[in-house]
Amino acid sequence: MALKGAEIMKMLPKTNCKECGCATCFAFAMKLATGGVKLDDCPYIDPEVKAELEGAMAPPMKLVTIGAGENALVIGEEEVMFRHEKTFFHEPGIAVLISDKESESDIDEKLGRINDLRFDRIGNVLKVNLLALSKDSGSSAPFENLVKKAYEDTNFPFILISENTDILFSAAEMCADRRPLVYPITGENVSAAIPRLKELGLPAGVKGHGLDELISITTQLKDAGVEESILDPGSQNMLEGIRDQTLIRRAALKKGFRPLGYPTMAFPCFMSQDKYEQALTASALMAKYAGIVVISLTEKEFVFPLLVHRFNIYSDPRRPMTVEEKVYELSRPDENSPVLISTNYALDFFIVSGAIEEADMPAFLCIKDTGGIGVLAAWTSGKFTGEAIAEFLKKYDVENKVKHRKLIIPGVAKKLKDELEEELPSWKILLGPAEASDIPKFLAEKWKV
């Protein structure tokens, strides 16, 4: 929310009458700030003040939805310029471009490949979100066929691209239940587009050459009641994209400038024909605020790094990243290999497993789910105690993976050693090094079956 609780408080009656259900007006203001109650709950607020508050409380960047149902893409409502200031809230959409000039068999093959662009990473599914369907041929038929085929053969939401406004909206009618983004809405066609946008209830893909043009178009749209827009400032390359998107976001978030208070989109597919450059441009612009990037890449080698990059940048820095709980088999261990145990905080996992794998040492790395918190904190809160670990070893049948009975625990968990020795009398508990990076050295020197 744009307004802080304390600022809202200034505009309330301050009678602490409790009729809204809160003990004080301050409490009500706090709940309003975080969306817990509605302004309507206060029976004594002045109507003019109410209107002012409603306007001020609206998020500085609009939330926009493309698509419907479980495949819908929701972007916007961002609050910060830097993810470490809080977090980025909505992952940008990655759209793959298909032109109606391509042959039917090429299109089929492409759609197949795009459908396969889904990957699992530490328990999350990474995939592309949208298809960008572009009318490049002279007549409307190929475009309509493309839209029809994409509609029937896939579940993706669409960005429909055509310079011809009538053809654009007839295509939109064909798939209106999947709430496509229609693009471009420009200074030239905005008046004609408005009634069609309203009738179909669609978001507008706004294109302007520079920010002033965008402002003029979004103002007209907003005045006419079209609330959802995505902005393309016409950036020609990565550097322009960084500049344009930074200024748009700053205007929205720091200046409260509503005409630019929308998510943005960029077209790396048009910025470079070189696949590597296109991929780098797409990742750069996602890191620098794009709500949607449109690419023409379909090969795994080029798309997978983009998906991981997006996943990383849009992770919430306030929540520790976690990995799946299980017994990881590193470098082909056998029944004589060492068994180590740690928590599922992702960064620790990467360091520990990375150190072991780089040294090419066979080992069983037991990773226990502690909600992503580290060893000591997990022990204190009961998630990484002797009892919890004994349960883990039983659950994953670790006793049957190795002949020996030695368990290596993180060096910082001294208190755990005694607990474990009581819980697991047939196991010898070895205290590992304090630093994960010393694990290979520790194993090389101290591991003997």
């Binding site: 830097f82 590597y276 780098l280 890191a287 820095p317």
Partner: protein, 300 residues
């Protein structure tokens, strides 16, 4: 409300650090705005991109990472030459893996002579990195500093546990240093304060420690962004050193970089670009194609 471009100007700048000497010397840093924000500030120096050279034959490298250097990988001087002459590197990073106590444990004197040979043969700015083992690096880098006196190398990593000796030698012999702290802005500041008691701040480059794409890249990204914020916006003069990132080592050890050449190159290039966007001023890369790509994209 009329629109006025919300430009932000900062009255301070990141310090400029000179690498190397003579006509091929290169400056990094010096900017008074965020990376690529030439529309609202001044960025006098393009980011520095160094190619990596090892002082031993690479062990266990991905095939396509080794391919560009196959014919020269047994000799650091030849390798360095190829980086400069064929692949257009303006800066090199010599990684002294021979000195690894868990490996060959080469003596400081020999190693320093190898460094000297590389310096003499090419005279491009040279970053010289130890293995991160505090005691050994101390001995090695001090010897390197002495052997290459006056050449203005960039020596590292300098850590909380060994900064006194290494920085002293660097000061005496006219070198710059890479001050490394583990992923924490407070620790970066602490090390800088300790160093600046006797070492010139304009010869310090900070390394907040890097993680590769998919393996913690976002932590590095955010730390670098906050370092820039502390330096430029909060005007903290202990956070105004240029930022260094050793991308090569982290990226090429991932299994993803080993899956295919294209993916390997993109793994390194994407990580690199991400750190440049955050504010890194100097990177170490392994693959010449990644170098070429990044150079092209930041120069346009």
């Amino acid at each position: 409300m009329t629109y006025e471009a919300p430009l932000e100007k900062h009255p301070v700048n990141i310090r400029e650090v000179v690498l190397g000497e003579g006509e091929k010397a290169r400056k990094i840093g010096g900017e008074n705005t965020f990376p690529f924000h030439s529309f609202e500030g001044s960025l006098p120096n393009l980011q520095g991109l160094a190619l990596e050279v090892l002082d031993i034959h690479p062990q266990n490298w991905a095939t396509w990472a080794l391919e560009p250097f196959k014919d020269v990988a047994s000799d650091p001087v030849d390798w360095a030459k190829k980086c400069v002459e064929e692949y257009g590197a303006e800066i090199l990073c010599l990684r002294l893996l021979s000195t690894d106590p868990m490996g060959m444990d080469a003596a400081p004197e020999e190693t320093a002579k190898t460094v000297r040979k590389v310096v003499d043969s090419l005279n491009v700015p040279l970053i010289v990195l130890g293995t991160g083992t505090e005691d050994k690096d101390s001995k090695v880098l001090i010897e390197v500093a002495r052997e290459c006196s006056g050449k203005n190398l960039l020596l590292g990593p300098v850590l909380k546990g060994n900064y006194q000796e290494i920085a002293k030698a660097a000061l005496e012999h006219g070198h710059a240093i890479v001050a490394q702290a583990a992923m924490d802005a407070n620790l970066t500041k602490e090390l800088n304060i300790a160093l600046c008691k006797f070492f010139p701040p304009e010869k310090i480059v900070v390394d907040p420690t890097s993680s590769a794409l998919g393996y913690g890249m976002e932590y590095t990204f955010s730390i670098i962004e906050s370092i820039k914020q502390f330096g430029l916006v909060d005007k903290d003069n202990m956070m105004q050193m240029p930022v260094f990132s050793d991308v090569a080592a982290e990226c090429w050890r991932t299994k993803e970089a080993r899956e295919s050449e294209e993916q390997g190159i993109l793994w390194e290039a994407t990580t690199s670009m991400t750190f440049l966007l955050a504010g890194a001023n100097l990177l170490v890369l392994r693959h010449p194609t990644a170098l070429r790509l990044i150079k092209k994209m930041i120069s346009s």
